[in-house]
């Protein structure tokens, strides 16, 4: 539909603006329950009004028509005509969702979900108490002074117009001469001015209009066309029309005198009365009809996906939008710069002593500059976590209503920043965790009272920085994890051996195992048992770590640790033969010397190592990656204990080297994806070191064990 590229750009702005407007409406509506202040309602109204205007202007008629109903309801609410009920708020919230869907459908040129639109429209009309057909943006044009029937077929030969404007006319910049010029375009015009009301010169106000006119317009012209020319006239102006050459029409307005006759005023009154009685008739007719009881079935509320990934805030906060590819290109360059710089520092050792000092100074300056550049560039990708937290007031509101639980949501540390991609990817897992806490963690008001707690449960979302990571916590003061139940279920599912002893913490973290759920019934909210393990896997894929701490009867806390950025890793360099590998520090639990007594063999083949109470599979990197190791036997090497997905393994290496920050370079885009390898980096001396993908490693080891066992 959009022809012009410029128009297409403007329409893009409209879509973005509408989404922001809908967000504003939603948070306004959520805040409306507590205190219905007029500023809030007006803001909500304006947002709807803007969307209506824009959608009509840019050709999205259905959006405009739907928004009109919303706007009408909001208008009544802000004028105090309609009370702000929770039913109305709920309907308006659903209307917001529907509009979001309509906007994104319009953007993607997808068909609309008409049933949903009709259902919510029905709800709105039910509240408004009218049964009228969806009102289009323009109401029926107010009838002008005449009751003359439409003059489609028989146009008079001309018109005589008596025109006496109000004194103020010129101050409103409504020039009579302009109107005459427009009339001239319709037909031949004769103008006679009447200066009878002109006062003496001393009393004359030069800005006022004292003149009136008699006009004769010749030609077959419809009254409507003339009305359009005069449509901006104040109702105080006097306009009187007489048809020429059609004596059977024009009831009553027969005078031709130059001076204005208050026929206009009388005609106006009667016209107004007629209009009034007409609307009264329609109103009573519609009230008699049965109001439609279309109960909108809750549209399946899949958590609103992060459809609009958090963009940079709009203009007024002094920021600009930057294309992600540009930023990624800069980050890549900075990575190269760091590698170059670290190469140069190694080089400095072979230079003449005189130049050495200057070179060293230059290099340390370079190091400082690059570090600063790196930090500021990383900042570009950082966004506050509020972008993810912002979905939750709505989610908690809707879910608590649905489950019949009373919940207060507290947010802490919304300003804490993290990488945009990490933010986008952590959003859905967070939603799952919050829904879980609401569904399974928090008790119903009755149970809470019975347990001596307050009726209203609390869910807290918090974020803060710690070291080079961001910690996100989801806390609830609900019933906590029932360890007995969990252990029993785990034993039933054979996830835990019948005699195996587990610590409290280990039991709690069992809920992250695939297929695990102690929910009695699978609710559509959560409880299918596919959630928690996916959550954990998503977090691990981000290079992060998740744990749950729980106290029965008091509540639970889920703690997520995530790296601040995906491009840089804090890694432990390890050596296997001549090769250097890197293991993420986040994945390392501890590193130990191998002692022969602790080694054993499972089924005669796979090696295991006994670490306190558990048996860790031993992964020999030299075997896995096919490189020549140095250590002749296992016990000569070092064992790096790593953890992922709740499982641990011991990685056998020859030597531990330094710990350092490395820039992750994608293997996939430079070569191809390799199992067990997460990426690569270039070390200061120019050698390539491969970064080990710990979760992948552990998964493949588990598979191998199963296969070996079966064999």
């Amino acid at each position: 539909m959009t022809i012009d590229p410029e128009m297409a750009e403007i329409i893009k702005v409209f879509f973005q603006e509408s989404r922001e407007g809908l967000d504003a409406m939603e948070s306004g509506l959520l805040g409306l329950g507590a205190a219905a202040d007029s500023e809030n309602i007006n803001t909500i109204f304006r947002a709807a009004h803007s969307i209506k205007g824009g959608s009509a202007t840019f050709g999205f008629a259905e959006v405009a028509a739907f928004t009109h109903g919303v706007e009408t309801l909001l208008d009544e609410m802000r004028n105090g005509v309609r009370p702000v009920t929770s039913e109305a708020i709920q309907t308006l919230l659903q209307a917001c969702d529907c509009l979001r869907e309509m906007i994104s459908a319009a953007e993607a040129e997808r068909p609309l979900d008409r049933d949903r639109i009709a259902a919510i429209n029905g709800d709105i009309k039910h509240i408004l108490g009218t049964e009228a057909a969806p009102a289009p943006a323009a109401a029926a044009p107010a009838p002008s002074a005449t009751d003359a029937p439409p003059q489609a077929a028989s146009l008079p030969a001309g018109w005589r117009i008596g025109f006496q404007p109000v004194a103020n006319l010129l101050r409103l910049r409504n020039e009579p001469t302009r109107m005459f010029a427009e009339l001239k375009r319709l037909g031949a015009l004769g103008v006679h001015a009447d200066d009878s009301r002109l006062p003496a010169l001393e009393a004359l106000d030069p800005e006022a209009c004292y003149l009136s006119w008699n006009l004769e317009l010749t030609g077959q012209i419809a009254r409507l066309d003339i009305d359009n020319i005069f449509d901006w006239l104040d109702s105080g102006c006097r306009l009187e029309f007489t048809e020429v050459g059609a004596p059977d029409l024009a009831p009553g307005a027969q005078s031709q005198s130059a001076t204005a006759v208050p026929v206009f005023a009388a005609a106006a009154d009667s016209a107004e009365n007629a209009a009034e009685s007409a609307t009264k008739a329609t109103e009573s007719a519609t009230k008699a009809a049965e109001p439609k009881h279309a109960m909108a079935s809750e549209p399946p509320r899949s958590a609103p996906a992060a459809a609009s990934p958090p963009q940079k805030p709009s203009g007024e906060s002094g920021s600009i939008r930057v294309a992600t590819e540009k930023v990624d290109a800069i980050i890549n360059l900075v990575g190269e710069l760091i590698i170059t710089q670290s190469m140069l520092s190694g080089f400095a050792d072979g230079v003449e002593p005189e130049d050495l000092d200057r070179l060293r100074q230059g290099l340390s300056q370079l190091a400082r500059n690059t570090r600063e550049l790196q930090e500021s560039v990383m900042q570009i990708r950082m966004l506050p976590i509020s972008f993810a937290f912002n979905r939750f007031p709505r989610i908690v509101h809707d879910l608590s209503r649905k489950l019949g639980k009373k919940v207060e949501l507290k947010l802490e540390g919304e300003g804490t920043e993290l990488d945009k991609t990490v933010l986008e990817k952590i959003s859905d897992p967070l939603v799952h965790l919050v829904r879980n806490a609401l569904d399974h963690g928090l008790e119903t008001p009755e149970r809470r009272l019975a347990a001596g707690k307050g009726e209203t449960g609390t869910i807290e979302l918090g974020a803060f920085h710690e070291g080079g990571n961001i910690i996100i916590e989801v806390r609830d003061d609900g019933a906590g994890i029932s360890r007995a139940k969990v252990l029993q279920k785990a034993r039933e599912r054979q996830l835990v051996g019948p005699d195996q002893e587990l610590t409290d913490e280990q039991v709690d973290n069992l809920i992250f195992m695939p297929g695990f759920s102690t929910a009695e019934a699978v609710s559509d909210v959560s409880g299918r048992g596919v959630g928690m393990d996916v959550v954990r896997r998503n977090i691990h894929d981000l290079g992060g770590y998740v744990q749950i701490f729980s106290k029965e009867g008091l509540g639970s806390t889920i703690r997520i640790r995530l790296p601040l950025t995906l491009a840089i890793l804090d890694g432990q360099l390890v050596r296997v033969g001549k090769e250097i590998y890197i293991i993420s520090l986040l994945a390392i639990v501890e590193t130990i010397q191998v002692s022969r007594e602790r080694l054993g063999k499972l089924a005669g083949r796979a090696e295991v190592f006994r670490l306190r109470d558990e048996y860790l599979p031993v992964v020999k990197l030299c075997e896995l990656f096919g490189v020549a190791g140095e250590s002749r036997s296992t016990e000569q090497g070092l064992l790096v204990v790593v953890e992922a997905d709740g499982k641990r393994a011991g990685v056998l290496v020859d030597d531990l080297l330094a710990q350092q920050q490395v820039v992750i370079k994608s293997l996939e885009s430079n070569f191809k994806a390799v199992a067990g390898i997460a990426g690569a980096t270039i070390l200061g001396d120019g050698t390539v070191a491969l970064i080990i993908d710990v979760p992948d490693l552990i998964r493949s080891v588990a598979k191998q064990r199963v296969a070996a066992h079966a064999a």
Binding site: E6, M7, E9, I10, I11, V13, F14, E17, T43, F45, R46, H49, S50, K52, G53, G54, A56, T57, F58, A64, A137, A138, A139, P141, A142, L170, R171, L172, R173, N174, R178, E182, E207, D231, W232, D234, S235
Partner: protein
Amino acid sequence: MAKKILAVDDSASMRQMVLFTLQGAGYEVIQACDGVEALDLARNATVDLVLTDVHMPRMDGISLVRELRGLPNYKFVPMLILTTESSMEKKADGKSAGATGWIVKPFNPPQLLATVARVI
């Protein structure tokens, strides 16, 4: 000298639409996003036409028209309100505040240009 128009609307996409249309017809356009900003701009420049939306934060369009009419330079400047309201009250409010006329949204570019040409 090109005629100057002050366009006021809290919606960025509407402002852009109006800007695009009017500039394309050779007018010079300055923009404001609400009545307060518009009043500031108006005090520092004289325009040949004011085009304003009605519903805006901080100061709405009708109040803006009223304030502008109080400025000596704006006594005779044509002022049009852009509105989706087609009820008589809003138009009458506009009139009593001093507006020259109104344009009902949605409008298409030719409509906007024609109406502007009427008064500028």
